[in-house]
């Protein structure tokens, strides 16, 4: 009896996993949206100690798009993940799994993680990788101007949360943005401003709402020029001390 119940449980779990699209949970578009509500598998995963070794195995399926290095793609299709705070990684994976952040391309992959422990493991492994030095930056004859303009804007309103070097804040779930691709930063900021990132932080939405497209371009240009001392991969030709 127990065995047959277990079988039914397994079967229904299988059906749930094998049925995209993702569930849809009410996000920022809803009246009673609470950002980063501490509930569900996210909380469980946050409390577990991530196992880097197992995380490497879990990450194998992620690496097809995000690359084994975690570097993603400079064209912004897939973000750079290496060195990201484990809290941020767990929150985003859990949000995508719960249907709070829409990502139809990633959903089936995220859905393959079996339990909160695997979320914690994958996050621990990704966090252990160094941030690649090479990534997508703003390219154009006016790059210096854009970066300077972006620096001004960044220091006025973004630095307070995202940090001087784009290091974010692990406890507050603010992501590392140093080493991130320019095009990905621009895409996410635009989506957050326009209400398409349904798991966004309302405090950030408030800040970013008045910004023009041109201003977001400049901010992204500056952000993608940031370097986080100590977390970036060592250049291959580094001299031995």
């Amino acid at each position: 009896m127990k065995a047959s119940l277990l079988l039914i449980g397994l079967l229904s779990a299988g059906i749930a996993i094998a049925a995209p699209p993702a569930p849809k949970q009410q996000g920022i578009e809803g009246k009673d949206y609470k950002w980063n509500a501490q509930e569900g598998e996210k909380v469980e995963a946050l409390h577990k100690k991530g196992d880097v070794k197992n995380g490497q195995e879990v990450y194998e399926i992620c690496g097809a798009c995000h690359l084994p290095s975690g570097a993603g793609r400079p064209d912004g299709t897939f973000p750079q993940l290496a060195g990201q705070h484990s809290t941020v990684l767990i929150k985003q994976m859990a949000d995508i799994r719960a249907g709070l952040r829409d990502n139809p391309t990633m959903y089936p992959f995220a859905a393959t993680l079996v339990d909160p422990q695997e979320l914690a493991d994958a996050a621990a492994y990704i966090n252990s990788l160094c941030i690649p030095l090479e990534h997508g930056k703003y390219e154009g004859p006016d790059a210096a101007m854009q970066v300077a303009k972006g620096k001004d804007l960044y220091e006025k309103q973004c630095l307070e949360c995202h940090g001087k070097n784009g290091e974010g804040n692990k406890e507050k779930f603010y992501p590392v943005i140093a080493g991130q691709h320019y095009k990905y930063l621009l895409r996410q900021m635009t989506e957050i401003r326009d209400g398409h990132r349904r798991n966004a932080n309302p405090d950030m939405v408030k800040v970013i709402k008045p910004y023009s497209n041109d201003q977001l371009v400049a901010i992204s240009a500056y952000q993608s020029s940031l370097v986080m001392p100590g977390n970036m991969c060592k250049p291959k030709a580094a001299k031995k001390k």
Partner: protein
């Protein structure tokens, strides 16, 4: 006459272009393998198609339609996110490669 031109065009299209992009390389590079399997015969999800051995013309048209949005049913939302990674010439090369797989 029109019919003849169509036939000739079809024949030309089917002929491998000189220095065409490498379909096998593209299939891995453009992340197709992530969802459809390394050899295009083991998709990630039961409702994603097996592509190995698919007719080239059909595969090409589906890729183009998903990219343009002309086709937006089924699992196209999952695929649309990566279709800007390939141009028409690359789509054709991938379709050719798929048709030759078993």
């Amino acid at each position: 006459m029109k019919f003849v031109i169509t036939l000739i065009t079809a024949a030309l299209v089917a002929a491998p272009a000189i220095a065409a992009p490498d379909g096998a390389k593209l299939f891995a590079e453009k992340t197709c393998n992530a969802c459809h399997g390394a050899k295009a015969d083991k998709p990630l999800m039961p409702n994603y198609p097996k592509l190995a051995g698919q007719n080239a013309a059909y595969a090409e048209q589906q890729m183009k339609d998903i990219k343009s949005g002309a086709r937006n049913n089924g699992q196209t939302a999952a695929m649309k996110g990566v279709m800007h990674l390939v141009n028409d010439e690359e789509i054709k090369a991938i379709a050719e490669y798929l048709s030759k797989l078993k």
